[in-house]
């Protein structure tokens, strides 16, 4: 593997945990049993490797945009497939609504020049937060994603994970402490 390939491979691999958190945050609870976020991310990264020549020529915002677009397409394709397969049981999943959400997320991560001055650090910190979430245990991660990325209340988090409110509060607090510990460390 030459140097260019290893550089692009490192850039792609760095996005793995970030894309996985994004995919999990997009995932409505009722689809969680039918869709696997890691499969979607794996598929997306495979496409990225196949397009390594193209990606090597892109700057960071364009690179992120490419990966997010690929993930979005894969995610929406998967949602459509599930809708077809389970057309009676799944209930209405509006593809356009999901697409809108995806687009908005992309705006946040890619449009680096659209917000006030704090945006300088914010984008990088946002990416680090999404990355750090993948280091949490499964249940803590689910709780944190429900609470902080999907805006659920403590009660809704508890119901979604089928645990008591006190257990959910414990999960959330331990998850947050772990995230803060990671994010407070200077980036290597």
């Amino acid at each position: 593997m030459d140097e260019n390939e290893s550089v692009i491979d490192a850039r792609i691999q760095r996005m793995r945990p970030i894309l996985r958190t994004i995919a999990e945050a997009w995932m409505p609870p009722k689809l969680r049993s039918d869709l696997d976020a890691s499969d979607l991310v794996q598929h997306t990264l495979l496409e990225a490797h196949q397009s390594a020549d193209l990606l090597a020529r892109l700057n960071e915002p364009q690179f992120s945009a490419w990966l997010h677009t690929a993930l979005r397409h894969n995610f929406l394709d998967a949602v459509r497939r599930v809708n077809v397969l389970k057309s009676k049981g799944v209930g209405p999943i509006s593809v356009s609504e999901l697409e809108d959400s995806c687009l908005r997320l992309e705006e946040l991560l890619v449009a680096n020049d659209t917000s006030p001055s704090e945006v300088l650090e914010r984008n990088e910190q946002s990416l680090r937060l999404l990355e750090a979430m993948q280091t949490l245990p499964e249940r803590q991660r689910q709780a944190i994603i429900q609470k902080h990325l999907r805006g659920a209340s403590l009660k809704q988090v508890a119901e979604s994970l089928e645990i008591s409110e006190s257990a959910a509060a414990g999960l959330l607090h331990r998850g947050r402490m772990a995230l803060v510990a990671i994010l407070e460390k200077p980036e290597s």
Partner: protein, 538 residues
Amino acid sequence: MNRRNDDVGERDGWDSDSNSEWLIRCEQAAEHGSRTEICNDNEAMASEHRRCYEWVEALASPIRHALTEPTSPPMIPEYEDLVEIGRGGMGIVYRGLHRETHRVDAIKVLRPDRFGQHSRSRSNASSLLRQEAKLAARVAHESILPVYQVGEVDGCTWFSMQLVEGVSLHDRMKEGPLSPELASDIMERVARAVDAVHRQGILHGDIKPHNILLEGQSRRPWITDFGVAELANDTSSRLGIAGTPAYMAPELIQGIFPGLPSDGKPIERTIATDIYSLGATLWALLAGQSPCEAFGVGPVAMQRIAEGSQPWLPAKVVSIPEPLLRICKKCTALDPKDRYASAAEMADALSDWLNRPRWNRHFPRLRFLLQVMVAPSLLVSGVITWWLRQSNGAEAWVWASLVSPYVPLFLAFGLSRGHAAADVRAKRELWSMWIGHMLGSLSCLISLRLLCHPNADRATAMAYPILAGLSSAVFIAKSGNFWASYRWIGLAWAILAILFSLAPESNAIGFGVAAAITCIWIARGDRAFREHSSATTT
């Protein structure tokens, strides 16, 4: 119920029976923004909970916000049929029908999802939105959206303004760089609007392609979003360093990087910081990409901009005309004193470029005629006049030879006028100057002949210094609005006028040679003749 390992927190004691109820109260209090009162029974742990909650929430809220589906429009009594058409950091913009007037307006409403129902930040944001409406309403200009009404609904401030159907320049840039003519035309009008804003004592603070709407077919630009605008010298301003890093002046970026030297000067927004943003916006339109895209978005690139060491080179290969690049560079000079003193000055510079003479476009053969017809005829005329005078030729032939080169010169100008409508200021100025030169020359020659009567040779000898002097005046006058080298040509003709007086016998040849050289120099040097090859590829 299935409890897994990470559901219980025996290891850190946070989930023990005694703490579980307390933890729920802390969590619920954090959700409702009233943490202190409820969680003060264990201040250290409460403080840790609060710190972690706020840390994660601060980073997660923009991401959550990005994932949020469009919110349902508010119920504003004055308006109906509200449809969301855009959202920014502080507000959501709806299109709505005014019930009384049946006019379709744009209504900007404070974002309820970003500012909690009872939070202090909502009242701050409300006052900022009111301030935005107030400042925008103070400026009456054809490119500033008029504000109609301000109100409040469900604790959220809103204001209505004229609805413009069009795209932002940011969206337009996605199709590629704008043509230099279109970009200059838009930015000239934007700069005049910003000047009107400044004359009201207001600093916009966030000029960028996202905040300039291009109205449909008319291509009329509209400046929007006075969200971070403030009154100049407003000491009570709560905005601090606001704006968009990619379009932010170096002296403001220095405020983001406290390590950078700021010469001890207070960091504040001024007219010069708005002019920097205007220049960066013009550059972005010409390059088809924002400075962020070209230079990168990290702190290193920002630091280079703050230090003035970032060259303004687009990442893509684009062609930017040299004069426009100079305007961009003047606007984005590191030292605010080196920038245009006002937005109107920048608008004037753009206007001058838009009105520049473009002979290659209007009359492609003029350059050819100057080199092939006018220059040789001037040379031949000089030689023939000299020969006629030396050989005591008939006076009528001497005068005919002396005046003859003016015929192709003014024929060429006459034809050029026919090829282009006189709608370009530069063209009108040029035409007036040469008509003046011709009339002045003819009247001087006639006067000379009458004054020197019956000595015709003396009259022709005196004619050349006068023609040279008049040429000097015309070229010096042209140097102000046209090619700067005309001043050197004018100076040379002034010297020649004196020399011709010293050597009256040979001044006809001297005049012919000098005039021919001048024609070729102009045809080869004047940018108006080289327009198509003047673009700088960067």
